[in-house]
Symmetry: C3
Subunit: 132 residues, 3 copies
């Protein structure tokens, strides 16, 4: 099990983590298997989406902000309930297959770490399993 650190710079931000995760997969020296990713936070998440046009994840961020506005009438006094809701909507884990020692993502897919209450230093946990 490996842990990497991710420094987010904005309040809401999707960060492409393909390179870092691929590095961990390479070091695990697993030809065929599964890469299990886990976000150990409650105001950040992980998702997959298109990497070719950065406007795609900008649109995802924009829609989430509209559906779950930061300043709505929440009970939690810390004031960041919107971030908690968005994190539960996108989810805290992702599983990607490994083929020939590499993440077997689709042509347009990238892994994104989703910051919803940054900027912060965040952790991502990565487990690489060989499946023979």
């Amino acid at each position: 099990m490996k842990q990497i650190l991710i420094n987010t710079q904005q309040h809401c931000q999707f960060i492409n983590i393909d390179r870092q995760v691929q590095q961990v997969v390479r070091e695990a020296n697993v030809n065929r298997g599964m890469c299990q990713l886990f976000v150990p936070h409650t105001t950040a998440a992980i998702t997959i989406n298109e990497n070719a046009d950065p406007d795609v994840v900008r649109d995802v961020i924009k829609v989430l902000d509209k559906l779950v506005p930061w300043g709505a009438d929440y009970t939690h006094t810390e004031g960041n309930s919107a971030a908690h809701v968005k994190a539960s909507l996108l989810g805290f884990s992702e599983t990607v297959f490994i083929e020939e020692g590499r993440l077997d993502l689709g042509t347009w897919q990238s892994l994104y770490f989703c910051e919803f209450d940054g900027p912060r230093t965040r952790k991502l946990m990565i487990n690489v399993l060989a499946t023979g």
Copy 2:
């Protein structure tokens, strides 16, 4: 593979299940591995979120109710389509790493069973895998 029963008391309710899941992990006697959780229902789900302030999950429930209102114009005649939609939004499975025989959740994370059409007696399926 273990199955636990969860009695929900309210129509919409998030129930902290850390203790019960940790108990299954302990009995599996696995030092390092993965705990796979699965909800075998279509109007309940599983998520992770903050446990320190119970207002956080109350806010999550409130936002979901606002986004997917119970009494909107649905086609499904049973009348509980809102619960089916919310379940698909939060998802039916969760994967948590196990380290030193314990669920390796983040500091503020707890596992929540999400009831969207209770009260009912629900099942949760738990699989503990050793990963060496």
Copy 3:
């Protein structure tokens, strides 16, 4: 690791894939284990929901269309940002337990491939793991 093709016929459509996935599980000849499913696209997803009344998934599609309208003010010039957002909301992977050589789904559960920008020919990746 197996890959199956799914031909979608509509712009937004949930397709029951139980039969095809069960077929892959059967061929894997695994008595007890886990079936890991992965959608290698960015405008399609996978979910679980009720199969008894087809109106249920119709309502899920309808609510998602209302929450994330196709023609809203998006930045991504390809015009299909709504599909990208919905895919991230429902997610790209699903894990189902296998017992006695069969998918151990709940009584009312079926697996659905979720098309959000069809019709297209889509892929679904399936990994069957024995867990002893």
